[in-house]
Symmetry: C2
Subunit: 218 residues, 2 copies
Amino acid sequence: MRTGTSQRDDQRQTAQQRRKELLEAADRVVLRDGPEASMNAIAAEAGITKPILYRHFGDKGGLYRALAKRHTDALLASLRAALDAPADDRRQRVEATLDTYLAAIEARPQVYRFLMHPADHGQQEPEQSFDVGHHSAPLLRRLGEELATVIAERVELGPGGDEVARVWGHGIVGMMHAAGDWWLRDRPCARGQLVHHLTDLLWGRLSLADDRVGAPGF
Amino acid sequence: MRTGTSQRDDQRQTAQQRRKELLEAADRVVLRDGPEASMNAIAAEAGITKPILYRHFGDKGGLYRALAKRHTDALLASLRAALDAPADDRRQRVEATLDTYLAAIEARPQVYRFLMHPADHGQQEPEQSFDVGHHSAPLLRRLGEELATVIAERVELGPGGDEVARVWGHGIVGMMHAAGDWWLRDRPCARGQLVHHLTDLLWGRLSLADDRVGAPGF
DNA sequence: ACGTGCTTGTTACCTGCGGTAACAGCAGTC
DNA sequence: GACTGCTGTTACCGCAGGTAACAAGCACGT
């Protein structure tokens, strides 16, 4: 015999557990087959059939969003740690954060690919039926907003600083992302080199360099 | 009656023309319905049926790549023009280029969305079946490479400058893209403001700002 | 003991997509 | 007139996402 609500609690608990198991199975499949993995394949990996997946996650977008959230949270946590770690100066802090991101995508490129691939994942809000934008991976937006608040909190930017911080947050994240994506594919140099060059860019080295002789001005 | 090769020439000409018409129809549909437009819908818009599309473009990826190429070329040309326009100094040149890009995505957000949406478009090379990366829109890579060569050609970066230029090219393009994407959606400020803030970032203002009082260091 | 309610699981189906035969008509060429 | 090469069609395949409709197990109230 059991106390009043214990059955529902138990059910809810096992439901949560089931959900976790399903997510892990989905994870395995997605990491093996890429983001185009079919619901059938995922269900088979979990040892069940499609409708159960749909009962738990609504639709494919729901599943993928749940999946993405876990990885996003993990990545975000490690980035925050890098951002909060003791550092001698700002440049060192920025380098550490960039390096943490790049190390993460280097270590688990398939996770990275899944997170960045905006292919559907559903998630469109019903507002403005045709929309615009909606392209950027949710991860990128989240990272941008996150960095924006950190900058706004910690850096003195004068009046209108919040707006500047938001622009910079999204801009820096985009820089990191695009450079990382390109680097991951072409591997033109060591990670440390990439970090160094990017930080140089943020530190204004472009504005300090001379024009090349014989070239049209830049 | 016609001269020797005139028939083939004629056919080729009308085929090219047909292709152009089909592309224009596809353009209309994609801009109306978004990148998920079905081949049936496109065929219907063109007043024909599916197999003809497939004869002309092979598969959906082929059609989309042909479509993307036109818009990409156009955007690239206008960016090159901005980059080559007379300017007083480097900062002005960078601002003009950023502004040109942002004006373009502001003016035709649906085109922009289509170009950036990496959702398939086919185009995967047969190499490395599961790959990695492959996410970034072709447009972004192309812009990054393009900017890289311009920087390498025109800016004196010392030994290893080519590597630096490539990193910067992709980094700057990524910054522009992410900030533009966010701005296009949220419209937090005027275009000129965004350009100004981004250029400040590239000019190293982040490295010059003070820590905020009472905040952990940054 | 018996039905009730809830969850888990199934099979079997619908719709719509990308993609592909297979065939019909209609130039111009030999 | 037969042949070729194009444009166009209808009708289909396979597979994806998604959804009934129904069966079984388990804890409850009576």
